[in-house]
Amino acid sequence: MATIEVTSSARPASKPSFIKAVWAVVQKDLAAELRSRELLSAMLVFSLLVILIFNFALELDIKTRQSVTAGVLWATFAFAGTLGLNRSMAIEKDRGCLDGLLLAPVDRSAIYFGKVFSNLAFMMIVEVIVLPVYSVLYNTNLFLPGLLMVILLGSVGYTAVGTLLSAMSVQTRTRDMLLPILLFPVVLPVLIAAVKASNGYLTGADISEIMPWLNLLIVYDVVFIALAFMTFEFVVEE
Amino acid sequence: MFFLDTTPNTSSYMIAGYTVAFVLIAVYLVSLIVRWRNLRQDYTVLKSIEAEEKEKAEAKLRTEEEAADAKTVKSRRNNARSKSTAKKKTAAKTAKSKTTSRKK
């Protein structure tokens, strides 16, 4: 765990160990996941099943399929994302890790950022696997740099708010069920903007059409990362 | 939307609209009143339970005090009795010791 080190800078020990604390949380989550792989496998299988369902729910010809690819992808990510967020926090709570983390002499926001990074990592791993699968199934190339950027921006906004809300929902009686109810109405701007921007890149639209959506994503990400990390301590304090 | 010579008769919608508005306001008011009444009831019941418990606790305290008092009175009496018997005993002993050797 983080030991108090004397650094070359004259700043108090808490500042440099902030990044160490964040990294420690991320490492812990990644290491745990590497061993058990329960989160990733669940999210992955779920995503593939969702795509399967969409395939039959929206019986499409090739032409219309193009217009809904963005929507199907983001719906998949949104649903799989809640799975990951739920489990990630539940594991913390059930194993008592959260209490352990809170006892450590680190800033609460370090725990927040650590969790966001690991949740983001899991979500992106799933996305990285879903994209080629979808590309193969529907014979469309999804590996466009613009699209990848949108997926990153959207996932950041989603996990920033999702981590905060999952920290709350895991402490309630209804737990898992509550997270989507809390999250979806609030994360709607991300979904709207991400779908629009993704669609723009997929259809090769002009950058001027896509810019407003990218701006919206960035604004949302900045505002909510700030709000979430400021309020996180109120959510985990005992 | 094409312009008609006569205004369309949309009054049924207007009536529906105002009815909905008033009904919903009324429903909310009723819910407020009902909840208020329930809370009042709960409050009075809980207050009386609280008062009961307080009384019980006080009564218990009183009986404990009385028992403690009775004990101390009793023990004082016993002490007094035992003191007097002790006095008598020691008096008898000293009386005895005067005639026989005393053990300590």
């Binding site: 708010v161 109405p185 609030v186 701007p189 | 407020l32 809370l39 409050y43």
Partner: protein, 232 residues
């Protein structure tokens, strides 16, 4: 529990009277709009209710922030009252909006940014109450409620802009096809009177309900404390 203050009783009566007058003005005094007919009268209450709901929305957001800063229970009580009232009035506004849209655009729902954002805000409110329901500890309930109110208050305006952007780039092909038109009509002076009076009347109704609901919140708090005390 103290008796209801005289000021509040007066306010109750005033609210009812104003509601009556506003109804009269909207239904009788204001002239019938030429293009839409009688249904246009719904507009007066629709906007007034939306306005009240918006007041509640802002009050809730502010109360949430103040609670997190001060940890004073009264701000939690204010927050719950604000959310509840806003929930009711947004519901009325949404339904009235829908009823207004039906004869004019031949559809029950327009994905109009204001209406849709109101609906999303309703969902946030419902989520808020479900969150509070799931927490036993009153202090934690207040804290979480405040955090969610903050997140929700920040998110709703952004949702509004997102949908507006959505609509300007892709105008929805229903009804008039004009995303800007929300039943635009020119208001005569009589209509303006009815409109402004409705706004005023509902503002008073808002304050009246708010005050009453806050009083009830305090009573609820007391009852809860007693329950915890007695149930030992």
């Amino acid at each position: 529990m103290q008796k209801k203050p005289a000021a509040l009783i007066t306010l109750d009566i005033l609210a009812v009277v104003l509601l009556g007058i506003a109804t009269y003005l909207a239904l009788v005094y204001a002239p019938t709009e030429a293009v839409m007919g009688q249904v246009q009268r719904v507009f007066y209450f629709h906007v007034a209710n939306a306005w009240v709901a918006l007041l509640g929305f802002v009050a809730a957001g502010v109360a949430g922030v103040v609670y997190l800063v001060t940890k004073d229970r009264r701000w939690d009580i204010i927050e719950v009252a604000a959310v509840e009232i806003s929930l009711v009035f947004f519901l009325i506004a949404i339904i009235l909006g829908s009823i207004w849209a039906r004869p004019i655009w031949n559809t029950w729902w327009t994905w109009d940014p204001r209406l849709t954002t109101a609906a999303v805000t309703e969902l946030i409110y419902i989520a808020y109450f479900m969150l509070r329901e799931g927490i036993e500890d009153p202090e934690r309930r207040a804290r979480f409620g405040a955090v969610y109110t903050l997140i929700g208050s920040a998110s709703a305006p952004i949702t509004f802009f997102a949908i507006r952007l959505f609509r300007t780039i892709h105008p929805v092909v229903i009804g008039s096809g004009d995303p800007g038109a929300e039943g635009t009509f020119a208001m005569t002076s009589k209509m303006l009177v009815a409109f402004l009076f409705a706004l005023f009347a509902f503002s008073v109704i808002f304050i009246d309900l708010f005050w009453n609901r806050i009083r009830m919140g305090w009573l609820n708090d007391k009852v809860e404390q007693l329950k915890l005390k007695v149930a030992r």
